[in-house]
């Protein structure tokens, strides 16, 4: 009979099976905390601030990565598989990795639309929503520009959506989450006033950025974005585009080039050398410039910008 030969072959143990059993024994007792997986350091920090001791938060994206290009690592699929909640920044920011990870995680509780899928963009009014869209316009986000986390006022709205999401998943902690939200928004309110004074020199300053991610920050503090190093979102610059940008910068007397830290410093540096502008690193996710946490990251971004503006003599 042939079938017994199949079972004979299947009896051969795979090394992984042994490893799996050993690891399953070492996994330990499940934590009583709410298991939260956060797509970016910003929403991770907010979930920690709001959830406090009630939550255990794991972050997928590294602060120095490009949020549009985060590698899909199966180790996060296992975290998502056992997660009670997934917090995303939203508006399609994480399109490169969250859909694939959700598929690999096999957890119905965190599918989009399920209670455990917490979308931090829920109360944000999106800007730059394309009225029509095709790929000739680059890698546009159909729901609008997703880089609203750079504006701390939007940060308050993100926090509200996260707190409500945590409460939805864990109603018994409602009071704690509301207190956490109150604490966090009070802190943000204080800082927002302070940042408004700090960022006063940015008003009217003309800048060029690498990627089109400044709109919320620029609107808040009065920066004027006159161009991007990318031809269109996600489309790398050609020599012709850079020459045009160079002329534009000279004509508009642009003294500040904002380089989001996940982008090539070489192009920005070359433009700066030819125009006399200063290159300012910008963290599009919390912790990218060093200081961790949402509040500290906003502070670091603004200090870097204000410092560069002071040195450049802009506008």
């Amino acid at each position: 009979m042939a079938l017994p030969s199949v079972s004979r072959r299947l009896r051969h143990p795979f090394p992984f099976a042994i490893l799996a059993i050993a690891l399953s024994l070492s996994t330990g007792v499940a934590s009583a905390k709410l298991r939260v997986v956060a797509s970016t350091p910003d929403v991770a920090d907010m979930a920690r601030q709001i959830g406090g001791d009630r939550v255990s938060v794991v972050t997928i994206a590294n602060p120095r990565q490009d949020p549009h290009k985060v590698p899909v690592r199966p180790s996060f699929a296992t975290r998502l598989h056992r997660a009670d909640a997934l917090v995303v920044q939203g508006l399609g920011l994480e399109h490169a990795f969250i859909p694939a990870l959700i598929e690999g995680a096999r957890n119905g509780n965190i599918l989009p639309g399920a209670p455990g899928y917490i979308d931090a963009s829920l109360y944000v009014k999106p800007l730059q929503v394309p009225s029509s869209q095709n790929r000739s316009q680059g890698e546009l986000h159909p729901l609008g520009n997703p880089h609203f986390n750079l504006d701390p006022v939007q940060g308050k709205r993100m926090a509200r959506a996260i707190a409500e999401g945590l409460e939805r998943v864990d109603p018994s902690g409602a009071d704690d989450y509301r207190e956490g939200l109150e604490r966090f928004t009070t802190l943000l309110d204080e800082k927002i006033e302070e940042w408004a004074r700090l960022a006063e020199p940015l008003r009217g300053v003309k800048v060029v950025s690498y990627h089109n991610d400044l709109i919320y920050l620029a609107n808040r503090y009065g920066l004027l974005q006159v161009g991007t190093i990318e031809i269109k979102p996600g489309i790398q610059p050609t020599p012709g585009h850079l020459e045009n940008l160079l002329r534009l910068m000279k004509r508009e007397n642009v003294k500040i080039i904002i380089r989001e830290i996940s982008y090539d410093p070489g192009v920005a540096r070359s433009l700066a050398e030819r125009t006399g502008a200063r290159v300012v690193p910008l963290a599009v996710m919390a912790g990218g410039l060093g200081p961790e946490g949402y509040v500290d990251s906003i502070q670091a971004n603004l200090e870097a910008l204000v410092g560069a503006v002071a040195e450049s003599g802009s506008p």
Binding site: R9, F16, A17, Q65, P74, A77, T78, I261
Partner: protein, 428 residues
């Protein structure tokens, strides 16, 4: 709010004027009193004028509000259409199309055993229509309809997958690429090279196309370990085609079906360095008594930061095949039964030097179904440039040698993705 504040401010001004008027009743020198009275009178008139202006503004605003309310009521009462009809395409699935075209030139005559055409050749390597969508809260489905220059259009995959089974289980059914090894179940356009490694073509029979049922389980531990079991008509697109073309659509005994077992793991060795390891067995218990064992290893350096685009992938896959060949006479009587064993595999490295630019090399070794007597080796070098996320140009040079004639081939591949195209987690 601003309106109320405005009225309040006017009232306060009026009140101040009134206070001044009352104060004017106090005894004062006659000249001074006249002067003050005149001033107060002027202030009173100014206040009255402001109050009138405010009243006019209030009236205007009230009219405006009334108009808006009336318009809203009118809109409610008089619909602009006779019925609310949902757009017919509201539930349409995501649709994308891949255009994968190439020009290749070989320096020597055809080496049929590993499928290289000779001379100059423009090819539509792959025109793939990919459709996917959730079916209901429990299932999602996808189909890949694929056309090439030499094979015409065919349904490459059409499968349904569960999305909400408990305990980390997933069930897949239909026609799909069986979970054999790593690259055998990748679509052509997702491969890191111009072509599928020749060893996969020879050992499996093209990509791991199959018709059947597959169950997989994600272990509930921190480490990613996935176990898959499957039952199929055939594994290997060429085998499936042969089977379905044989006049009885592959109908045969249960023990002549293809069985599959695979275990696949992933581990982060550091924040930027990770490894994947997989092992699989595919077999036919009776008649052919085939066993195909495969082991795959992938190491990746993925910093994911600005320097991340200077990452590195190392991948290798090795397969061992043991199969019984039966020769029958015209009456179906067995004339001879021979067991043949062969092996093959590939290894590659790809270095990502810039955001959209990579360079790699691959070595492939395979033996034909005849066994080690017909060996083929191919060394390849390839360069990939992605002008954007949605198009790719790749140059590849292959040098093949072995027990047949040496062959060199140069290929330029141009691939474009129309629409949102992703084969998801399995081909990340």
């Amino acid at each position: 709010m601003s309106f109320r504040f405005h009225v309040g401010r006017e009232s306060r001004r009026g009140g101040a004027a009134l206070a001044l008027i009352l104060a004017a009743g106090s005894p004062l020198p006659v000249g001074a009193a006249d002067s003050d009275a005149t001033t107060l009178h002027e202030q009173l008139e100014a206040t009255q004028r402001e109050a009138e202006r405010t009243r006019d503004e209030v009236a205007e605003l009230k009219r405006h509000v009334a108009d808006l309310e009336a318009a809203a009521r009118s809109a409610d009462a008089t619909p602009t259409t006779t019925a609310r009809i949902a757009p017919v395409n509201a539930d349409n699935p995501a649709v994308s199309f891949v255009v994968d075209t190439a020009l290749d030139v070989s320096t020597q005559s055809s080496w049929q055993s590993i499928g290289y055409p000779d001379g100059w050749n423009f090819t539509l390597k792959n025109g793939e229509l990919f459709i996917s969508a959730p079916i209901d809260p429990f299932l999602r489905g996808y189909a890949s309809i694929n056309g090439t220059s030499d094979e015409g259009f065919d349904v490459e995959e059409a499968a349904i997958i569960t999305t909400s089974l408990p305990w980390g289980l997933t069930l897949k059914g239909g026609r799909f690429f069986a979970d054999v090894g790593r690259l055998p179940h990748w679509h052509d356009e997702a491969l890191p090279f111009v072509d599928r490694p020749p060893s996969i073509d020879r050992m499996i029979g093209g990509e791991s196309g199959s018709e059947g049922l597959e169950a997989s389980w994600l272990m509930p531990i921190d480490l990613f370990i996935e176990v898959t079991g499957g039952l199929y008509d055939a594994v290997g697109s060429e085998n499936l085609e042969t089977l379905n073309d044989n006049g009885f659509f592959g109908r045969r005994s249960f023990q002549e079906l293809n069985f599959l077992g695979r275990i696949h793991g992933y581990v982060d060795l550091s924040d930027t360095f990770n490894a994947e390891l997989g092992g699989s067995w595919t077999g036919i218990p009776r008649d052919e008594e085939r066993s195909l064992w495969a082991l795959d290893v992938t190491l990746r350096h993925q910093p994911g930061t600005q320097s991340s685009y200077q990452g590195l992938d190392l991948g290798a896959e090795w397969m061992w095949n043991s199969q019984r060949f039966t020769e029958r006479d015209d009456g179906g009587a067995i004339m001879s039964r021979i067991r043949r064993r062969r092996q093959g595999g590939y290894a590659y490295v790809e270095a990502f030097f810039a955001r959209r630019f990579s360079v790699g090399a691959r070595f492939d070794y395979s033996e034909s179904p005849e066994g080690a007597a017909d060996r083929a080796r191919t060394a390849s070098a390839f360069v990939t440039w992605k002008p954007s996320e949605f198009q790719r140009v790749r140059f590849q040079f292959d040098n093949s040698w072995g027990d047949q004639q040496t062959n060199q081939r140069f290929t330029i591949q141009w691939t474009a993705f129309i629409g949102s195209h992703s084969h998801g987690f399995a081909q990340r």
